[in-house]
């Protein structure tokens, strides 16, 4: 299972979710995956953050995602906050687990 953990909670009537996912494509989070990730994240209304080793960035920015330099094997935490948080986090986990369509 690549899906490491999920935490769901309700805060002030809003949905919040936190999921961990491991980068499994050989080339890591390079430009194309980062662009795809930011584009999918951008489709959702929720605020979405990605955390790696204490560094927190905005999931909707490919530029910020690339500052993570996340190689294969890196575990990312996706934290979504908003009405479509669960859906957004699931879509992003799926994207990472599908190796961004790469090897």
């Amino acid at each position: 299972m690549l899906f490491l953990s999920t935490v769901n909670y309700i805060s002030f009537g809003k949905q919040m979710t936190e999921k961990q996912v491991k980068i499994v494509n050989r080339l890591g989070l390079h430009v194309r995956p980062a662009t795809a990730f930011a584009q999918i994240a951008g489709k959702y209304k929720s605020n979405i953050l990605v955390i790696k080793d204490g560094q927190t960035i905005n999931a909707k920015s490919s530029i910020e995602l690339l500052t993570l330099a996340a190689i294969e094997g890196t575990v990312l935490t996706i934290k979504a906050d908003g009405d479509d948080a669960e859906e957004a986090a699931n879509a992003l986990v799926k994207l990472v687990e599908s190796k961004f369509g790469e090897e």
Binding site: G28, L29, T35, S62
Partner: protein, 157 residues
């Protein structure tokens, strides 16, 4: 590696002659050839690889910045060239805006971590307030080099 090592003074073009994406890529690949003269480095072949890569999805990531790149067999480390176009070049960027600042990155095959590290370095710099603005208003190569040097001094602190 520092920004000034990826993009040394000799590999800075303060005003690109090219006005289109392909031309700009070729111009910068030629700069890498002229400055580093890597063995078996064929400008046309490498430029074609970079252009092919662009067709998979533009490396124009917004803020008027693009990071065209390719893997090159013979390289041992990442080498690059920086080019500026004050007029702007249509790079099919994600935000649809013209690109003014082009960071060409050539990485060794298998050097995935080195490639990601170079990208990280550039992205951290362009995220910084005024970094792109200063590059866009720089008067020439020396100014651009100074901006890279000053950036490294600031992040060191």
């Amino acid at each position: 590696m520092k920004l000034t090592e990826y993009f040394s003074k000799k590999a800075i073009v303060s005003q690109l002659k090219a006005s289109d994406k392909k031309g700009a890529i070729k111009e910068l690949v030629q700069v890498v050839k002229d400055v580093y003269n890597p063995s078996k480095f064929q400008v046309n072949d490498i430029a074609d690889d970079v252009i092919k890569r662009e067709k998979l999805g533009s490396t124009g990531l917004g803020k008027g910045v693009a990071v065209p790149h390719a893997k090159v067999v013979e390289l041992k480390k990442v080498i690059g060239a920086f080019g500026r176009s004050t007029d702007g070049i249509d790079f099919d960027a994600v935000d649809g805006e013209p690109v003014h600042l082009i960071f060409l990155i050539l990485s060794p095959i298998g050097g995935t971590d080195l490639h990601l590290e170079a990208l990280r370095k550039i992205m951290q710099a362009i995220k910084r307030p005024n970094f792109c603005k200063f590059l866009n208003s720089a008067k020439g190569i020396k100014d651009i080099e100074d901006i890279f040097v000053e950036y490294e001094e600031e992040v060191k602190v």
